[in-house]
């Protein structure tokens, strides 16, 4: 029956049927790969493979000058940070990145981190640890407990579990920490259940910060039965072509309390015509504690003035003072300063902690470390338009300065500090014949995706092309396992 049916058709018809079937299978296969109906797919790129390397999904590293492609079979990361994009045919919820690399870094560059872009206005990446040599060293020398995926290190063996330690921390009484938990605790990629209490509290007085700051900034304010009123003035420089919206987020313990947003109609892009904007935040009946204010703006917007009802106001990690007349004086709690000038007119000698440092090149990040022993260090700038960064806080007056965040086990962490306890969400990478393999997981729900691409970053803080060392990170393979909703979940939920 089948035989007679088959013989009935001509060779041409059967051949066309065959080719048509192949065409159908190919199209269905590509649609399957586009839809990913089971919600799981893995993309990988082997940087040493000449063919089938997987570069259609995981794009090459940028910027090109921070990657050496000639000295080795694998790309060498020689400057920090580098970026790559991942093309995905649809959105996903989670990404598990596995990276195989060879670590040719000296001990003063102990960190390797990877992150996914979550905010393209302020270019914020959600960073996760790949390698932390400081923690690797302390794991060998301190008392180590691994509990619920957390790493708990103690200088002295005071606690038998992390849970027991956390109970004491919540009470503010850690064994061996007479001067308060914040003085003997360091963290890495972990937020402990800890409420900052200001030791030298005094009633707040209103202040006016009229020194303009360019671009995104974040600051802490400390309240105790006080009204929070922040009256902020902004200037849109209209130098760029893109719209420059302004978004303010007031939060406490990573929970948003209120937000304000002013959209930009972008009526005169690139014209240089300035536009003034105002935002007011007024919150009564806020519980005592530390609040974080995040000002999400592009570098095309300047914070002209902040009138605050509280003077305990400290900028987090970065300030970029601009358009001020005369000398500027700031205060910070960190003993190092990363300084970058974008304008030749801003090159100068900077006084930091009583020491002079020379800023003599534009578009280069200088690391200045002071040997001053005071807790609060003074920064004196002769000219503005320099970007100041560190892992501490900045303020315009010493009275305003307070830092509620705990010390971090970063590249500036020293085992000689007073830290007696370290808690980290960190897993040491596995190592075989000099090749290290680390796995990190990212939440892609809030990640920024443009033209089907997620943007990732690999960071080695302190790695610079111009420092003439041979330090590099040799990247052999990147594998990204993606998980998301299945087709059935998308249809029915």
């Amino acid at each position: 029956m089948i035989k007679s049916f088959w013989l009935k058709w001509s060779f041409l018809f059967k051949f066309r049927l065959f080719l048509g079937l192949i065409l159908f299978i190919i199209v269905v296969l590509f649609l399957y790969l586009k839809i990913v109906p089971f919600g799981r797919i893995t993309y990988s790129r082997d940087y040493t493979a000449k063919f089938n390397s997987g570069k259609g999904f995981i794009y090459s590293f940028t910027p090109a000058e921070r990657v050496d492609l000639k000295s080795s079979d694998a790309p060498l990361m020689i400057g920090d940070p580098i970026y790559f994009s991942l093309f995905t045919p649809r959105t996903f919820d989670k990404a598990k990145m596995t990276i195989v690399y060879r670590d040719n870094l000296s001990l003063n560059k102990p960190l390797v981190e990877a992150g996914v872009l979550v905010d393209n206005t302020i270019w914020r990446y959600d960073l996760k640890p790949i390698d932390n040599k400081g923690l690797d060293y302390l794991m060998l020398t301190w008392h180590k407990i691994e509990e619920n995926g957390h790493l708990f290190l103690q200088k002295n063996d005071n606690y038998s579990s992390l849970a027991e330690w956390e109970k004491d921390l919540a009470r503010g009484e850690l064994k061996g920490c007479e001067s308060g938990p914040e003085n003997c605790l360091a963290v890495y990629n972990y937020n402990p259940p800890y409420n900052y209490q200001m030791s030298n509290y005094r009633t707040a007085v209103p202040i006016v910060l009229d020194k303009p700051l360019r671009g995104a900034h974040q600051f802490y304010v400390y309240l105790k039965n006080e009204v929070l009123r922040l009256d902020m003035s902004f200037v849109d420089l209209n130098q760029g072509l893109k719209p420059a919206p302004i978004e303010i987020i007031l939060s406490k313990d990573n929970k948003t309390i209120t937000t304000r947003r002013v959209d930009d109609a972008n009526l005169s892009p690139g014209s240089g015509l300035i536009e003034e904007k105002q935002i007011l935040i007024e919150e009564k009946n806020l519980a005592a504690g530390v609040y974080k204010v995040e000002i999400k703006i592009s570098d095309d917007v300047v914070i002209k003035k902040i009138i605050s009802s509280v003077d305990r106001l400290a900028f987090i990690n970065k300030v970029w003072p601009v358009s001020s007349n005369g000398e500027l004086t700031l205060y910070t709690d960190a003993d190092y300063l990363q300084v970058k000038a974008l304008n030749p007119a801003s090159l100068q000698d900077i006084s930091f902690g009583g020491q002079e440092f020379n800023l003599n090149e534009t578009y280069r990040q200088f690391d200045f470390k002071t040997s001053a022993i005071e807790q609060i260090k003074k920064i004196k700038l002769k000219k503005d338009d320099v970007i100041l960064e560190n892992n501490g806080v900045f303020a315009w007056a010493p009275n305003s300065l307070f830092n509620p965040s705990l010390p971090k086990v970063d590249r500036f962490f020293s085992v000689k500090t007073a830290a007696k306890y370290i808690v980290a969400d960190y897993k040491k990478p596995s190592e075989e014949e000099g090749f290290k393999t680390a796995t990190v997981e990212f939440d892609l729900k809030g990640a920024y995706r443009e033209k089907g691409k997620y943007s990732f970053m690999i960071s080695v803080p302190g790695l610079k092309i111009e420092d003439s060392t041979k330090d590099n990170l040799e990247i052999y393979e990147i594998k990204i396992e993606l998980r998301g909703r299945t087709l059935w979940q998308k249809i029915w939920q």
Partner: protein, 60 residues
């Protein structure tokens, strides 16, 4: 003679198949960018299609 005819027909049909495949891929690329290009370069398919057409023309 019949064998030659079958070969010529097959080459022509393969050329048609490759042309349709290229067209379908281009349409899919326009609808969902990178759906095909992420996996393989359409230039190779275009080259194959071109060669198929050329051989088909010569054989004719």
């Amino acid at each position: 003679m019949a064998k030659d005819l079958a070969i010529n027909t097959s080459i022509r049909e393969i050329f048609y198949f490759l042309s349709i495949l290229l067209f379908v891929f281009i349409v899919l690329e326009i609808i969902w960018p990178n759906i095909i290009l992420a996996y393989f370069n359409l230039n190779y398919l275009f080259l194959l299609c071109f060669l198929g057409g050329l051989i088909s023309l010569i054989k004719k």
